[in-house]
Amino acid sequence: MNFPSKFHILLIAGIILILVPFFVGSYFLHVMIIIFFYAFLAESWNILGGLAGQLSLGHGIFFGVGAYTSSIMFIKLNVSPWVGFLVGGVFAAVLGLIISFPVFHYKLRGAYYALVTLAYVEIFEKLALKIEYVGGALGILIPLRESSLLALQFQSKKPYYYICFALMIISIGITHWAKMSRFGYILSAIKEDEDAAEAVGVNATKYKLIATALSAFLTAMGGVFYAQYTTFIDPKTTLSVFVSIEIVLRPIIGGVGTILGPILGSFVLTPLSELTRLLIGSGQSGVHLLVYGIILIVVCLRAPRGIFVEIQTLFRKYFEKRRGEVVRHYGTARS
């Protein structure tokens, strides 16, 4: 490969992102945090939705379970959110397994799987609204205690920035590992054709469940971070279909199943949603959804494999032209 390697580009981007907080204001930092945050969630979804090809619309559940678990533990038991990351993650993973096992076992695939997960989000949202112990419709207000790493509460935005940045990097690392390993190859076979995968000895249900648990665990960690960052959670904003859709849109626009597509999706979509909110005002709620809709239509028509794949292809073509080479691209789903 003669063109500037992906690794170098990422390294430079990483260094810039590490230095950013020293030069920008608080609002810009907030936008960056939200970008990282959605990038992390998108990448977590990507393990199940992209690598294993299961279009989950139920990630709102895992997100909500993470946020609620850690917040309740924090308020009622005074447990650090860092423990909440682990406990919330495990809860979400176990819940994911319980929900998904019958779905996978009875071979609900494609749109049917998506519909079942959608139904589950609705159920859990209603549950959270009804149960007083978790705050009901009022939600949970997380009291500001002290600015400390242990309580994951800070006066400045910088620590949040770096924590969220780290989460995003971790999710990229996990996805990269998953994709290059035995696990990833097997998931890609399941994504292509489940019957054919079973015919060559793949226990598809087992691998889909592992992917679900991993994806749910990470998504719940995002929920924990969200609760500590915004200090307020309620069913509508943490445990609803809207959360699921916010998560799913980014990988779809960036590139489902690629390692960096979901990250790119967040870098494109999140600032846009912030911008529309800023320009049009949050009073006109729903305008950012309109913008999402338009972008989604354009991307689906012009770049159905996602922006990332298109950019990659353009990039390759450009550098091959410069070297005067004619290379036919057969490509692979795994590149």
Binding site: R182, E192, D193, A199, V200, G201, T332, A333, R334
Partner: protein, 250 residues
């Protein structure tokens, strides 16, 4: 003892009896053919043996152990692998990756899977295509890739469902050679095929079914003379031609 024993198998879909009281056995190391008119239930027999469908009644035994109700992947672990009538390669994966999946499913690491995958592709003369996506292959190579995928699971018994349909004469000859080569490795083959001259040349024994029931069993020569088979499936013309061919060979 037979490798696979099928005993009084029944399977109905609604009012249609796809498999009706079918009994046969497959011996270790042989090539057994299964022929019959369209809709005779050949693919259903395969689906039942490979675990994709469960039978209404009857038994299937592999090396004397009952295997009815086991899932496809666990049958695959036990050494039964099927190919699909409509070739089902993993279209967006490369040819090598297609073959690697079966090896990885056995628990091998990626590196070993690549090495073993390359060996299998070499064995089946597919090595030139290893880095292109399966969707770019012609139908002939797609079917050959099906066989490669089956081999990747280190099977004892391969159920080959019409691996020659839609191929030209040259490709049929190649596929026959490949099947013989696979059989030469000690792998038992159970082959459904509509290309009769191919199966007659290939199989040591042939079973003929019609409406899900067995109407004849024997060597290709016996089958081609069997009155019931001629009326149900072969037709007079094929029978005569086949007799002539057999005479010429002698």
């Amino acid at each position: 003892m037979a490798l696979l024993e099928v005993n009084r198998l029944h399977k109905s879909f609604g009012g249609i009896r796809a498999v009706n009281d079918l009994t046969f056995s497959i011996e270790q190391g042989e090539i057994l053919g299964l022929i019959g008119p369209n809709g005779a239930g050949k693919t259903t027999v395969f689906e039942v043996i490979s675990g994709f469908t469960s039978p209404d009644s009857g038994g299937v035994k592999l090396n004397g152990h009952d295997i009815v109700g086991l899932k496809p992947y666990s049958l695959c672990e036990r050494g039964i692998c099927r190919t699909f009538q409509l070739a089902k390669p993993f279209l967006n994966l490369t040819v090598l990756e297609n073959v690697m999946i079966g090896i990885l499913a056995k628990g091998e690491p990626v590196k070993t899977a690549k090495e073993k995958g390359n060996e299998i592709l070499k064995f089946l003369n597919l090595l030139d295509f290893k880095d292109i996506q399966a969707k770019f292959l012609t139908i002939g190579y797609k079917r050959r890739l099906e066989l490669a995928k089956a081999l990747s699971t280190q099977p004892k018994l391969v159920l080959a469902d019409e691996v020659m349909s839609g191929l030209n004469e040259k490709e049929v000859m190649d596929t026959m050679d490949i099947l013989k080569k696979i059989n030469g490795r000690g792998i038992t083959l159970f082959v459904v095929e509509h290309i009769l001259h191919a199966i007659m040349a290939l199989a040591e024994r042939v079973i003929v079914i019609n409406h899900g029931a067995k109407i004849a069993e024997g060597t290709p020569a016996e089958i081609s003379r069997n009155e019931r088979v001629i009326t149900a499936y072969l037709g007079r013309g094929f029978s005569d031609r086949f007799q002539d061919l057999s005479k010429e060979k002698r």
